[in-house]
Symmetry: C2
Subunit: 335 residues, 2 copies
């Protein structure tokens, strides 16, 4: 198990034992220490206890304990825009000297001039073009190296910290909690599968083979006697909305029993998960904390609307970040 630093360490020794048989409570340890007591935390513990207690009506065999997590806005922050977009823009700036023709292209010029309003006007289609162009033209190994260097040095504009610091401490605890209870945790993200894989194992403990995401086409070829996979400027799969259950089926081949998201892009993943037989768990993270993180239901590229309505109708758990989380980020403890 990963070692997790609790941002609220020391506060939880006197917690009531919610479910006596749970191992972590028996040991006087609260694995979800950054969650305030309340419905959200209780619904998680309740579900996990039912799924993992032999003899319970909702018991699920370990190999079927599949949990899927959206990434942007669910495991880490997604404001002021998806972090991968910052990577796209940084990369475009790095490559610009080799592409003098970009100055003549309005969308590219907008990025180079930092005119984010003009970039936004290009819509999702424009951003997809920029992402494809900046993510292609190298081997998979070369791309991984580029991402590795970027993620190690780039900083978030508001927090002035590496993006990897902006992972949600309560969700990190939740990932570990599920794994300790025999769950296999997967990322199912609209972000790039090969972008996420570079750092997901290190920051979430989720190995490459448990990361699912959007992808561009790659092509096997032998270059100067060496077999490589070359990344092509062509979309292979968009892992969002209806794409999420399709990708889950393709990559995992089993229906998850728990799904975690934060926007309408996760709705179909939650619907697919919830529609299975037996006990199922759906959870939405709602961004309500303008001080510690951000407060919004509508982000530049996503909206939480239909999924929220369906969550209420179907009894999925809705996390109110401000109320339910003792802290958002681990670094808050050292402030």
């Amino acid at each position: 198990m990963q070692q997790i630093k609790h941002c609220a360490a020391g506060e939880d020794k006197s917690l009531p034992v919610l479910f006596p048989p749970a191992e972590e409570y028996a040991q006087g340890q609260d694995m979800l220490a950054s969650w305030n007591e309340g419905l959200a935390k209780q619904s998680i513990i309740n579900f996990v206890r039912g799924a993992t207690t032999a003899g319970e009506v909702h018991f699920v065999k370990p190999e079927e304990r599949i949990a899927v997590f959206d990434n942007d806005g669910t495991l880490w922050t997604e404001m002021p825009a998806y972090f991968q977009l910052a990577f796209v823009f940084d990369r475009l700036r790095t490559l610009a000297p080799e592409h003098p023709e970009w100055k003549e292209k309005p969308l590219y010029a907008a990025v180079l001039q930092g005119d984010m309003k003009a970039v936004a006007a290009g819509g999702l289609r424009g951003l997809m073009e920029l992402a494809t162009v900046t993510h292609a033209g190298m081997t998979t190994d070369e791309f991984a190296k580029i991402v590795e260097e970027w993620i190690a040095t780039a900083k978030h504009p508001k927090f002035d910290r590496p993006y990897t610091d902006l992972i949600y401490q309560p969700m990190l605890e939740l990932l570990a909690y599920l794994r300790v209870h025999g769950f296999k945790t997967f990322i199912v993200s609209g972000g790039g599968i090969e972008f996420i894989r570079v750092w997901a194992d290190k920051i979430y403990g989720i190995p490459p083979e448990q990361v699912i995401g959007s992808s561009i086409v790659s092509k096997f070829e032998i270059v100067a006697g060496v077999p490589v996979l070359t990344r092509m400027p062509e979309l292979n799969f968009m892992d969002d909305n209806v794409g999420k259950p399709v990708a889950i089926n393709l990559h995992i081949g089993r229906r998850p029993i728990a799904a975690f998201g934060n926007s309408d892009g996760d709705l179909q993943m939650l619907q697919w998960t919830a529609a299975g037989a037996g006990s199922r768990f759906g959870l939405l993270v709602r961004h309500t904390d303008s001080v510690r993180e951000y407060a919004y239901d509508v982000s530049p590229l996503g909206t939480l609307d239909k999924a929220l309505t369906e969550a209420k109708a179907k009894g999925w758990t809705v996390v109110d970040m401000k109320q339910d989380w003792k802290c958002v980020y681990a670094f808050e403890a050292s402030r």
Copy 2:
């Protein structure tokens, strides 16, 4: 670990201890009991020992011990034709009464009349069409049920046994041997991913999320209030030749350290695996046993030629089924 019935049980008690520290020998147990002593067996043990012995120059961290296996002709028999083709033909016959128009289509009529020469004349493209038509038009759950029923009842024309009896006992031992040594074993097959997943866990101990294969498009939709994935008559991905390393990269996201195949369709998978840094292992199963199985380098849909040449040049292991395997199938023991 799976319980494995050794077809040559009792013969191996006096085996020389090839590599003293190996756990199974220390316990007086040979996990590869159905392999005759020889270069093939020794190369496997040698590789695994190097990859798993701490301090060895070729030691590989457990999480990077990825092994990929072709299925048809590598883990089970592929003659007189890929078993999935028998499923396609059986399914076409089952569906024929609902499709009177098929009698007018030469390829479909050939299947219905059992004229396999005419079917073969339609080539791979014709077979792909038949596969797509018979595999689409239902939900993923419905398809799994159809496969489950077929695999439980269909029998191989030569052996008059369920197809699942025709798995290679030595390869089954090899899968278990690798897993005991911390390897994660994957199937990477040209066959249908959702066809294989139905029975792979039961017969090989390989769970759905470790099965990679060819696929047709599936579509998420809500039908009468129920979210389903509907299988569409359109190819999504052909997991053969250059497709195999591409799919490995997409599904696993790490380069395997060992690859096992039996035809030129596996060549690129072996090349991709072998080209990684550190110790790598490639193995080809060669079908040389006309009595216990089949003897051929050219099957109706595959050829072993280029891969064999490259195996010799690069020092990959070539298994001579007749010489290297004490038995081919587990049921031989009870004959």
